[in-house]
Symmetry: C3
Subunit: 460 residues, 3 copies
């Protein structure tokens, strides 16, 4: 079958239609929340706020910018490890995230910030939109190199919608804790993406096998992504935590977990190589699993050594996954997981969800204090029958709901994306920028730096 990868009219029309629709919906529905509205001056008087610093902006702005960097530079560059797919990795990630955050502002807004007439947005909405898109970036990792930008926009459209519904069920109906999104972002995103990849199975992908590896420099570019994700993960897991000690604790826990995870990733990477050499794939990915695994419990009383243990386990499991599970998934289950998101986001996301259920079910007044417990789990008068045990069960239920939503949603979206007119490339042209990008001609490398021959020496 000959597929047409010329996107000349399909991509522009999809982009422009989506953006026009977004503008219309924003015009009808989106306004500023009070903290971002000029009437805040009056609000300050009413609420008797003594200082401008009480504006939500100052609690969350540094975290917001860090999360923003993770989505665009972190995920974007992490995927540049492929030798001929750097433009697409960083460029398509840019495109889908830019579309996704707008659509997420609407979807999450209708479900969570709707006052009956308007969606009222503030900085927390922007963070949540970035979070939602993070889940799409995870799924992108599973299908990287095998889909067209049109397919990605469609996948984003559906995934953001499903994410928002799933998030609503977990946070508003089941009232689970998931501040760093082990379940809502990582497990959901990974299994959604893997299901899509399964539906889009490409039997002849070995024809583009040589392009599925990295080069020396492409691996260094990927390390930019890895490090910005790793460094800013404490901001990710604390960005929407409760003010004060909860935000503070989420940072400490994530910092500890990630540090431990680096050591076990390195240990396993070396131990699993016959000459004891390290593999960049593990260093780029498994080192981050500790952040994923801590996403649910970040602000809970897991204690620093509990965080270390979670990071310890995630680093080991994730590296083992890259070595043994990814080949198994591809050969036996026909799931082609380009970036190994199953190892970085899937299993660690599940570990995170389980850790959350366990940690919640052993919460007690000794650890949290009476007020602290009530505040941490949002126990109000209407929830008098709350107990750590029920919280633990609801946490576990949240994990199952996320996985179920991911599988069902992934199948539906995968089937839609299988339609043959989205501009996807044939198997032998996967992982190739030149399909969708104008590529510069390689300069004659002999000329590049031989200073004396190419420059006419103008000095006297």
């Amino acid at each position: 079958m000959i597929w047409n990868t010329n996107l000349r009219w399909r991509l522009p029309i999809v982009c422009l239609l989506l953006e026009v629709a977004l503008i219309a919906l924003f015009g009808v529905f989106v306004r500023y929340e009070m903290d971002a509205d000029p009437h805040w001056l009056e609000e300050k008087v009413i609420k008797n706020l003594s200082t401008d610093l009480e504006n939500e902006f100052y609690y969350r702005y540094p975290s917001f910018q860090d999360v923003h960097v993770m989505i665009f530079v972190g995920f974007g560059f992490l995927m540049t490890f492929l030798q001929r797919y750097g433009y697409s990795s960083v460029g398509f990630n840019f495109l889908l995230a830019a579309f996704g955050i707008q659509w997420a502002l609407l979807m999450q807004g209708w479900l969570q910030s709707f006052d009956g007439r308007y969606i009222l947005v503030n900085l927390e909405n922007l963070i949540n939109a970035d979070f939602c898109v993070g889940s799409v970036c995870v799924a992108f990792g599973a299908v990287l190199g095998k889909v067209s930008p049109v397919q990605l926009l469609i996948m984003t459209l559906f995934q953001v919608t499903l994410f928002s519904i799933n998030e609503y069920i977990l946070l508003n109906l089941l009232e689970v804790k998931d501040s760093g999104g082990s379940m809502t972002i990582h497990a959901f995103g990974a299994y959604f993406g893997l299901t899509v990849a399964w539906i889009l199975y490409r039997p002849n992908l070995h024809h583009s096998k040589e392009r599925q590896s990295s080069t020396y420099y492409s691996d260094l570019f990927a390390m930019i992504g890895t490090l910005f994700l790793w460094m800013y993960w404490p901001s990710f897991n604390s960005a929407i935590s409760n003010h004060g000690d909860a935000q503070h604790r989420a940072v400490i826990n994530t910092y500890c977990s990630l540090a431990a995870c680096v050591l076990t990733s390195v240990a396993l990477s070396s131990a699993l190589h016959r000459k004891g050499k390290l593999d960049m794939v593990h260093i780029q990915n498994a080192t981050l699993a500790g952040g994923v695994g801590l996403g649910t419990v970040a602000e809970l009383m897991v204690l620093p050594f509990g965080s270390l243990i979670i990071g310890f386990i995630c680093g080991i499991v994730s590296t083992l996954g890259f070595v043994y599970l990814t080949p198994f998934l591809e050969s036996r289950l026909r799931i082609q997981d380009t970036c190994g998101v199953h190892n970085l986001h899937g299993i660690p996301g599940i570990i995170g969800g389980i850790a959350g259920a366990v940690t919640a079910s052993i919460a007690n007044i000794d650890l949290y204090g009476e007020e602290g417990l009530a505040y941490a789990f949002g126990i109000e008068r209407s929830k008098l029958n709350w107990s750590p045990n029920t919280q633990g069960r609801f946490q576990a239920a949240g994990l199952f709901v996320s996985l179920a939503m991911a599988l069902v949603g992934g199948i539906i979206v995968g089937v839609i994306l299988r339609l043959p007119f989205w501009g996807q490339a044939p198997d032998e042209n996967c992982f190739e920028d030149a399909v969708y990008w104008e590529i510069p001609r390689e300069p004659k490398s002999t000329a590049l730096h031989s200073e004396d021959s190419s420059i006419k020496p103008p000095e006297p």
Copy 2:
């Protein structure tokens, strides 16, 4: 004509003289503003401040660091797209910005923070100095590859001076709103740089045509610059906004505008290529136009959908500019705009200025509240005859003043830079790092990674 590009004495002498002069002037004029002075402890008592957080530092520090990254990594790496000019792009940008911020602290200080005896600096001065240098970085983009570092230092000296005067006229005399600098930074910087490029026209630049393109990796380096500019632009547009809701609103608006701009840039880039392929030049540059276009209105009540519309338009206009206008400027008007700053900063800056005039002229108490309106536009008792209409006209006047200053200043500076002894390279050696940099010899690429041949295997 044979030009001497050996800078051995010219560059060191210029650098050292400038720095000695700066030290002398700082010694005479610059002191800490009260918020950065140990006497602040007493000030706290006098002003009855309850907390150290009321120090201006905590309102602006995160934004400051983001802006700082934009100037040095953002602009620096954005210009590394040229295949043989990466060192100069990032290195000369570093040099001119480091000089420029010091000179800007003095120039802006004399005009805006002078207490009769001393310039009192605090974090806001550092942000404004970075802003001022941002305008020089824009102009650098127009002349990139065609000027020596000595010329750049001279250009910076004059441009910072003119920028500060123009800024003073706009902010202090016309009292316009321009928190993100659509007019003062972007339009001024772009048309100043384009005028200089016009005066410095090089008729034989086609001799270095091959070096004006990119390579695969140079384009990825440039994407680092693009993304850090894009991600931190909300900080740029809100960095010196009023505390509280204004800063908050500027972030939301800029975030929206930039997101919309990505979709229309991609749409147009694909639509304008005969095979529908994307062009990295557009993704690197046009996606940022939405931030420029929102610079004047960022903190005004443009509403989220208004921001989307501005981003929508800027992405389209900017991409069209790269495809049609830049070649036209070069062939007909003899303006060689290396980075296409006209498309990224020039036209979007004008759009921003116009959007500011329109938004200001429809401001009303319904939108802002009475107090909010007074605070947003700084209406005090002395300005009882203020009306949205006059504000709108003053905004428009500010745009014209900026353009006029840019053109006149650009001509004067261009003529000075035409003098033949600044170490500029001949046309055939433009866009070439080896003229000013010690370049490493390229390693024999065969040896690079063939592990087994080059390493003596010490394992038993």
Copy 3:
């Protein structure tokens, strides 16, 4: 002698043992400080705090994240300049820093945050752990390319221990000011690393001479490190300063010093090249010396022009060091300083220490105000006999203690690292990633971008 560089069991066992020990020690000793504990809600009532913002978190979080970026991306990428050692530079830096921060939390915790039963950690501990590791990263620069990851972990174990003791002597016993760590971090780290490099002298290192240079792209990667270090240095020097004016002043001073340093580095780099060309090594390193030199005095009343003078001097001295001193150290003193840390951290650290002694000894009430002076130097009732003069002498003593600790510690650690079973590479295989890393095969470069030949054109 044939050395075995196969780390298959050594590296995993060391990593896992260290991590298990850390988890056990964290379990016994580490708990959250009150600001990160759920009981903070009760603390707020007791301390009569009106707002969550009084949580230490909000004072220090932006600075913390910036410092974190400096350690992992800053130092990591700064060292990628070597043509075949990019993976190791960024990867081993990642490993040693991840281990180091955990060990530093314990060591610094026992000495400074121990309440008799537990180490109570908050964000300041995380920053201090990053600082401590910064000193290890400095030492890593001296031995870069010549040690195995096992050696690095052992070096980190000892250096963190010694650092913490030295820091305790300086800050708690001598009560010196050193907020940006000119003495404790930079001078200590540099001379420790140089001593280790001296003990590990490799007589046949010229066999890997060709790999000690850079390539065009490796130098651009290194500039990422340089710029993030340079931009975030104001955060580094102010991260643990007193709240309010001190933090504010430390930022202004560091910003000024770094800007001046760029101009003199460029000036000297050009002046010392026979054709006046710039050397990337100087731009990557000497431009940062101004931040090191300001580390001790950052929050003191050195005034903006004093900061400029320190930056001015550091840029000159550092560049001279690269040109004249590094070759001298190698040929005469048999100290092979791979990254030239002596020029970037050693001498500027000493300059910083001296500047601190001088600045402290001329402190007076005119400059600081009575309250300001007491607050800046922590003068309490028990220190009634405090005088600027004694403070100055103690500052000088602190510098000597740091240097002595570095030399003695470096000799001991160096001797341990000389043992032949740590997996170090022979001299001819130094500076080579392939010893410890799985390296991708280089793609046939002809195929890389010739769009038409490698892609089967599917368009009709």
